[in-house]
Subunit: 213 residues, 2 copies
């Protein structure tokens, strides 16, 4: 293990379980697609998550940590996030995918710098393919163009997604001290500043699809 | 198109949408796994389905048929099958995966012989990886060993799965004449005989995991 103690498997376990759950939920949400073309697109977006999962699980195994063990602490909070944010229609599905993937990517990019060598390269490499973000963004714009009142509803929905994610992130941070230390020590990251950066990027993304934060 | 008219895209569309739905449903069912190791195993079983979907969709595209168009006729019957067979627990999840994949494979193998050249090779090549069947079989045996009364419940469940599948297959056969003709013309397949062979294989598989048909 190149970086400090259990923090690296902790981080890889978090990202790995995040990918696994995103995979399951997106695949389940695909049934809400208004047509087969969109349904297939979301299924393929989901499938990309499990490809990433596999790479992270392989790395954990190479570090001598069973992936199940590294992921276990995150089952409850990540499950709670998804259970409290069940999309009710296609517009909510694509907004959740758009918001969730992007915040995950921003977070991974920030903490990737806290890692060394192969872990850093791996983590920075599992960022999501931007063509899926473009697909989700285009679907949101279409829904908003179709009915301008949708913008208000989806803006509220996105705030709920971020609120629930932050609430679970807070629980994880409190329970996983080495992980939190790793994140905060990364290039002397200041937590309020990290949050400010993540929020600013999120706000810009919301504006890009006609939603407000 | 090598084999007769619309029958080949019809068949590829059927198998492709079957794979896509199996992918979505297995991924959604993974939440019922009793632990993370099994959950990951089912997720990977699901992911294998979308790999197959992609190959079938690529072949359809190469034949000049949009995959969405070829799959459209099967959305309703396959969705109806899955909606009427929602597993309630892990034992039902693995039994459904075991029964469903195996009958699909038997069916594909039978009708694969009705195809020519690349279509035949492709269809015979998307048969499921036997390691997943072995995983599902082992899980069923474990559930039965754990509580012998489970055998009765899962036997009934498997009969329901087959009954619902046959009921939907009957609808498809009635609505898709060229597909039915392709299947029945394959080496002069006699439909009652085909059913008898599929049933015999299913009965043997049930016995292999301690269930009865």
């Amino acid at each position: 293990m190149s970086t400090a103690g259990t923090a690296v498997p902790d981080l890889l376990g978090l990202v790995a379980f995040g990918e696994l759950l995103a995979f399951e939920r997106m695949a389940a949400d695909a049934r809400l697609a208004p047509d087969l073309r969109r349904r297939v697109e979301l299924d393929q977006m989901a499938a990309a998550e499990i490809d990433n999962y596999r790479r992270l699980a392989d790395r954990l195994a190479a570090l001598g940590v069973p992936p199940e063990e590294a992921m276990a602490p995150y089952v409850r909070p990540l499950q709670a996030y998804h259970d409290s944010t069940e999309p009710r229609d296609w517009a909510e599905v694509v907004t959740k995918a758009y918001v969730g993937d992007a915040i995950t990517d921003d977070f991974i990019r920030e903490i990737g710098h806290a890692l060394d060598g192969p872990d850093r390269a791996l983590v920075l490499d599992v960022l999501h393919d931007s063509r899926y973000a473009e697909f989700a963004a285009a679907e949101i714009r279409l829904a908003v163009a179709d009915d301008p009142r949708v913008a208000g509803r989806l803006s509220m929905w996105a705030r709920r997604l971020v609120g629930e994610a932050l609430s679970q992130a807070g629980r994880v941070a409190a329970e996983r001290a080495p992980l939190t230390a790793l994140i905060t020590q990364a290039e002397r990251i200041d937590v309020p500043e990290l949050f400010a950066r993540l929020t600013a990027a999120h706000t810009a993304r919301m504006a890009a699809v006609g939603l407000n934060n």
